[in-house]
Symmetry: D2
Subunit: 143 residues, 4 copies
C-alpha cells in the first residue's frame, strides 16, 4: 500500500458510493473514526454478496473478518457522499485481503485507506476452509 496517498478512485476495479448520515459525524464535526469502518464494511459486504454470491445467513462456509486496518489521511464530513473503492490485494489459501480507499467530494486523493481481511470459515467446525477455484477467479478479476 505504498503510495496510497496518490491513488485515485479509478485505480479501484470495484466501487460504490455511500451517503453519509448526520450521526456519522462526531462532536468534532467530522466523520468519526469508527464510522470509516462502516464504509469499509459496506463495500466488502456488497462485493461478497453481489460478486461472489455470499449469503451469511444461509451458507455453511462463509467469510469472517480477521483483521481490519484504516489510515486516516484527511477528514470526511456529513453531508458529503463518500466514494469507496475496493481492490483484491492478496489471495491466500483460505483468506482474501481487500485494499480499500475512501474518497470525499472534490478531491482526487483518498481521505482514508486500509484493508479488510476475510477468512473462509466453516460455521460448525470453526476451521478455515480453502477458497474454491470459482471464487478465486472472481477475486482475480478484481485484483
Amino acid at each position: 500500500m505504498s503510495g496510497a496517498a496518490n491513488q485515485k478512485i479509478s485505480d479501484f476495479p470495484y466501487r460504490i458510493t455511500v451517503p453519509t448520515r448526520w450521526g456519522d459525524n462526531d462532536m468534532l464535526g467530522h466523520v468519526n473514526n469508527v464510522a470509516y469502518y462502516r464504509f469499509f464494511e459496506a463495500i466488502v459486504v456488497r462485493f461478497q454478496m453481489e460478486e461472489v454470491g455470499v449469503d451469511w445467513l444461509k451458507d455453511k462456509i462463509s467469510p469472517q473478518a480477521v483483521e481490519t486496518l484504516c489510515r486516516f489521511h484527511r477528514p470526511l464530513s456529513f453531508p458529503e457522499t463518500i466514494e469507496v473503492g475496493l481492490r483484491v490485494e492478496r489471495i491466500g489459501n483460505s483468506s482474501v485481503t481487500f485494499e480499500i480507499a475512501l474518497f470525499g467530494e472534490g478531491g482526487d486523493a483518498p481521505a482514508a485507506s486500509g484493508h479488510f481481511v476475510h477468512v473462509l470459515v466453516d460455521a460448525e467446525t470453526l476451521k478455515s476452509q480453502p477458497i474454491a477455484d470459482d471464487q478465486r477467479k472472481i477475486f482475480e478479476k478484481f485484483s
Copy 2:
C-alpha cells in the same frame, strides 16, 4: 405521563445505569436524539431478558416493538453516565407499555421521558398472542 418533568429516578421500580460513549454525542456536542432510543432499548431488553426470561433468538413467541416515543427535556452529554428508569404503564391483552425516563448526572428531573410498547408475536404466524398469567404477574410487580 402528565407530570413527567417532576419524576425522579426513585419513582421507577426497575433501573439501570448506562455509560455514554463518545459516539453517542453528535456534532452539536450532546447525546444525539437517536441515541436516547439506545438507552430505551437497553432497559427494555434487559428487563425482558432478566425479569421475564425472554430469549429472542430461541422463543417462538416473543415481544416485538410496535411503538416508541421520546420527549426531550434537556440535553445529555458524553461522558455522563445515564440512569434509566422503567415502569410498566399499561398491560393489555397482548401488549405491554413501558414508561421510561432518562436521568443525567446531577439533576433530579428527567432529561427525557417516553414509552416503548411491546406486543407478543408468534414468529411463524406473525399474529399477536395473549400475555400469559405468569408474565402478567411480573409486569404487575413493576407497575
Copy 3:
C-alpha cells in the same frame, strides 16, 4: 395520523431514499428499531438544511427536537433501500411537526410511520423563538 397504514410514498411532498447498511440490522435479521430514527433524522435534517437553510453549526437560533415517535408496521431489512416521505403536519408558534413514513422495496404501505417535532431555540437564552414568516411559508408549501 389515522389511516397511516393506507399512505403511499406519493402522499408525501418531500422524499429521499436512504440505502440501509449491514449494521442497521440487528441480530433478529431486521432493521433495528432504533435505526428507524436514523432515517427520520436523515429526512428532517436534509429538509431543514436544503429547503429551510438551517445551519446548526452557525445559526444562533436553530431547531431542536422535542419529541419523536415511531410506529412499526412491518420489518425492513438490509440490503433494502428505504424511501422516506415527509409532510409538514402542523405549524405552531415556535414548533413544527413533521409527519414521516418509511417505505421498503416492493410495497405500497408504509413499514413505519411517525412524527418529529422541532422547536426553534435560541442557543444562548435556551428560549423558544417564533417561526419567521418566510420559514412559515416554506413549511406551508410542504403541508
Copy 4:
C-alpha cells in the same frame, strides 16, 4: 504484538469495562466488527481525558487518530461485558501508539487485539506538534 493471543488483561496497565449494547451485535448474533473500534475508542478517549487531561473541544493542540487496526481472534456477544486493556506501545516525536486488547467474560485470552495511533495536531495549522515532556512522562508510566 507477537504473542498477542497469550496476553491477559492484567498485562495492561490501564483498563476499563464496557457493557455491550443490544445494537452492538449484528445479524450474525455477535458483536459487529465495527463495534470493536467503539471499544477501542472508549478506552483511548477515557485515557486521554482522565490521565493526560485532553479536552478535544477546547484544546488548540489535540490528538487525532491517524491509524487503527484490529485483529479478531474470537467472537464477543451482547450481553457480555467487555474488559478493555491499554498499554502505551510506542512514543514517537509527535505520535503515540496504544496497544489495545478486548477480553470477553470467562476467558483469559483476548477476543481481539490491535492498536490506535494518535498524532498531536494543531487545529489551526493542521501541522503535527511534538509531545511535551509532561505528557511523555504520563505515556511512559503506562508503557
